[in-house]
């Protein structure tokens, strides 16, 4: 039971809230790393998935990518990220982690965006085409708005995975919240270890909840989104 008291004392210590090793800085580092990784993945995956979804091509690839993504072990990605970043002279920490996070974020975004566009009622799309809408207008005004909740679901999955794996960046000397866990393990400081775990778990759950809310809010009037 004493561990709870130790963790509470750790959080109460003002020293843990200040400076470059403090909680606010670590949270910001975590958000910066995760945000940039998801943004890069969006730029890569969304245009491809929109094209494939709209034309109906490449469904096999888009769907199977999700399965391949699951087989990629996060620790292996961090290691491979290091093997890429070091020869490029990008150093430790940020970039090796980034190289691991982007491939992790692409599959769920790609698959969900593809499915989101594909699952839009074909009758609606045909009606729009019959009314003389251009293909780009069909995509922009029909398919994307109707598919948005599902797309955001995929982005949410990617974001939660990225927030979780960004923790492992501490192994390659990165900052972010994993620092508390990895240092806590190495030094056998259980208060720091559990406090770090709490912060990471909280951030992951908040990310999940935020994207679920966003997905619900993005549904056009009259459309219900199942959780």
């Amino acid at each position: 039971m004493t561990i709870f008291g130790d963790v509470a004392r750790w959080f109460a210590d003002p020293a843990h809230w200040q400076g470059s090793h403090g909680i606010p800085v670590r949270v910001l580092e975590h958000l910066e790393l995760s945000g940039l990784a998801v943004a890069i993945a969006l730029v890569i995956a969304v245009p491809v998935a929109l094209y494939l979804g709209h034309t109906g091509r490449g469904g096999f690839i888009a769907i199977n990518l999700a399965n391949i993504g699951r087989a990629l072990p996060s620790l292996a990605l961090i290691g491979l990220g290091l093997a890429i970043a070091i020869p490029l002279g990008l150093g430790l920490g940020f970039w090796p982690t980034m190289f691991a996070l982007v491939p992790l974020a692409i599959p769920p975004i790609m698959t969900n965006t593809f499915v989101a566009i594909r699952e839009v009622d074909r009758d609606v799309v045909d009606a729009a085409r019959g009314m003389g809408l251009k293909e780009s207008e069909i995509l922009g005004t029909i398919e994307i708005p109707l598919g948005l909740p599902l797309m955001l679901g995929g982005i949410g999955t990617a974001a939660v995975n990225v927030v979780a794996t960004a923790t492992l960046g501490a192994i390659v000397a990165g900052g972010a919240l994993g620092r508390f866990i990895v240092d806590g393990l190495a030094l056998q400081e259980y208060d720091q270890l559990v406090a770090g775990a709490l912060l990471v778990a909280l951030l992951a759950i908040l990310t999940e909840v935020a994207f679920a809310a966003l997905a619900r809010a993005s549904a056009p009037p009259g459309m219900t989104v199942s959780p």
Partner: protein, 217 residues
Amino acid sequence: MTPGEPLIRWDWIASHAGEISLRIGEHLELTVIAVVVGLVIAFGLAFVALRLPALSAPITGTAGILYTIPSLALFAFLVPHTGLSVLTAEIGLVSYTLLILIRNIISGIRGVPSDVRDAALGMGYTPQQILWRIELPLALAVIFAGIRVATITTIGLVTVTALIGQGGLGYFILLGIQLFFSTPLLVGALGSITFAVVADGALVLVQRALTPWTRLR
């Protein structure tokens, strides 16, 4: 990862063959225990959720929260209580299988057409017989889809348990990172990915053998 160093040193692999096969065995063991224990717990909870629909949301909700907690954080919560042990690794690994398995067992059994269930009831099947002879066989495809995803996910997560002194092939990934040595890193990373692909293929074959009727159509 230093200049002039080859990406893979085959002599290192040859001289560590014994250790590599040992770690593959450890990886297999950690994975099988996690999926089997996860399956037993998931079946129990899924049956509770099916009998008492009021508990369905809390059960999947709790499994969902467990699934959302990053693996390293979950292991970190456990270490002060269960130490750097196999038990810590397994509690974490089992937790991650639950959401996928429970969800697929429930949707598999709910997906059995009610006509089929009514017909069995009319033929005098007891609820027990309906479960074992009708519902479970018909739900097997969906349940197996869940087992495949859970297995692949677990194989990947086992590598993370290297940080708490377990890890199977993850041990080599960590070693490679610590020594800046690409050979063990690639052995661990590619080994783990290959393992996942082989395990998935094996499960597909098991599923085909268990559900011969799906091939007749």
